[in-house]
Symmetry: C2
């Protein structure tokens, strides 16, 4: 069994990006610049955005944080999106979700210029991805593909089950895994709450991508010998065994499943650590005009 | 075994649209108006476009046909797209594909205002469809969903195999069938040229959507008793049994497969007849501003 080390791969990618940024600066090119818009004071959002801003610094990007209180109007936020779209120094930007209930997230997302949509949430980027065109792919699916690529895990012709059909993970990763590409070319079955023989489908799959958000749902009996297991779930549960009083659990019962796998991602330390580097990679692509020339 | 009668359903929908257009006119509303752009003199394209224009007349739509010779420049065509985007009398328009090699189809498609993209080829519409948002869905997948709906074929929790991963049929119908919707909520496996145990997957499926373009590929031995079979393939082959000297074959060996099915679409007379009515439905939705208010 080989553990997929998200921490190591994320560090490798960070170092690669830092090297490339260094080189761009040497050649007199503009420093890649990511902006983040944060509304309100949600604890998780604060943490995520702080992590993104910090990571920018580590790879040599410029970053800008724009903050609003919870009561910002939708019109004001749309104006900010518009300004960022037109700011030639900003290569890409994100609006941290969730937004307060009085603001339409979809309207805000669709207002972002697809060329600066480094979160890959704009329908144009999703649509282009489905068509197999260059596109900003959202962080989690992009991170999964990157892990599979860096570990040279074969996917062509393999059976792959994706459990969970969320817009940000299940649907896009199911499309990417079945795409004519490497990684890709797998025979993908997308499962969800209405799926009847879920255990049987998982048990017959070479690659299992668990993104349903139910802690420790996938047990050893559901996994065939030699399977590749990618665990996207991250659920925070109370624990008296940690200082913080909680721990993070994946969708897979790691201790019993791992011995049966050829490859498995741990939680924490797996897919979750890839999301910020996916964002950095997208920002670098935006700065280099790789997606929309 | 119940034959899915594409001809009858298409006629029903045409009549429904005609009735609604009549009513719109009575209420003093503008007549829905579809424009089609045709480049060159490809025989099949000429036939398709003529069919679309004729159908517009039958349901009471206005239609405009814009023709160019094969040597039209990309810039000229993009200008026409731009003009149609800005023409307030035009509710929706299509640019008939394929285009000559010197013109980028993708560039032309992406130049179309998504609000007038009644072919549903713009990435925004595809992306919105994936996200479960209102969107113009392209003709063939929309036609399949319509047939399933009109025959009240249960799909929730059913296993569904889609054979073929084309951008215009396989990928979008796989997404629609697995979507949280009715029809939808099926457990979908998307198969393609790299799939290893295709026979076995098809044989275990409740619903089979064949869109691989290989005439008579699916035989009785590959279909389980009571399956629903949707045949998207239309291949023109030579025949000495018809006046025209050719006949149309589906991807399914109809004669031997049909007796095993609960429902099956014939070729011709099935899915193919739904494509023009899907376009008409999209044009009506565009005229009513149903997708993008």
């Amino acid at each position: 069994m080989q553990l997929i080390d998200g921490k190591k791969i994320a560090a490798d990618i960070r170092a690669e990006i830092a090297r490339e940024v260094e080189e761009m600066k040497t050649r007199g090119l503009k420093t890649p610049h990511l902006a983040a818009v944060l509304v309100g004071h949600d604890g998780a959002s604060e943490t995520y955005v702080a992590g993104k801003v910090k990571s920018c610094g580590e790879v040599g990007f410029k970053s800008t944080l724009i903050r609003y209180e919870d009561d910002v109007t939708e019109a004001r936020l749309l104006q900010t999106v518009h300004d960022l779209n037109n700011d030639t120094d900003i290569d890409g930007f994100i609006v941290q979700l969730p937004l307060p209930a009085h603001i339409s997230e979809q309207k805000v997302i669709e207002a972002i210029d697809p060329r600066k949509d480094v979160d890959g949430f704009h329908p144009v980027n999703l649509g282009r991805m489905v068509l197999g065109l260059p596109a900003f792919v959202s962080a989690t699916p992009a991170g999964i593909i990157e892990l599979i690529k860096r570990y040279n895990i074969p996917t062509s012709g393999k059976s792959c089950v994706v459990v969970g059909r969320s817009n940000i993970v299940g649907k896009p990763i199911s499309i990417l895994m079945s795409q004519k590409a490497d990684p890709g070319d797998a025979t993908v079955t997308l499962c969800h709450s209405r799926t009847r023989n879920l255990d049987e489908i998982i048990r017959s799959s070479d690659i299992i991508i668990a993104a349903l958000g139910k802690p420790q749902f996938i047990t050893a009996g559901m996994v065939k010998e030699g399977a590749v297991v990618i665990d996207v779930g991250i659920t925070r549960v109370k624990s008296d065994q940690t200082k913080s009083g909680f721990k993070l659990l994946g969708d897979v019962k790691f201790d019993e499943v791992a011995p049966k796998c050829s490859y498995i991602t741990p939680v924490p330390g797996g897919v979750g650590l890839m999301t910020v580097v996916s964002l950095l990679k997208n920002t670098l692509k935006a700065a280099k005009r790789e997606i929309f020339p």
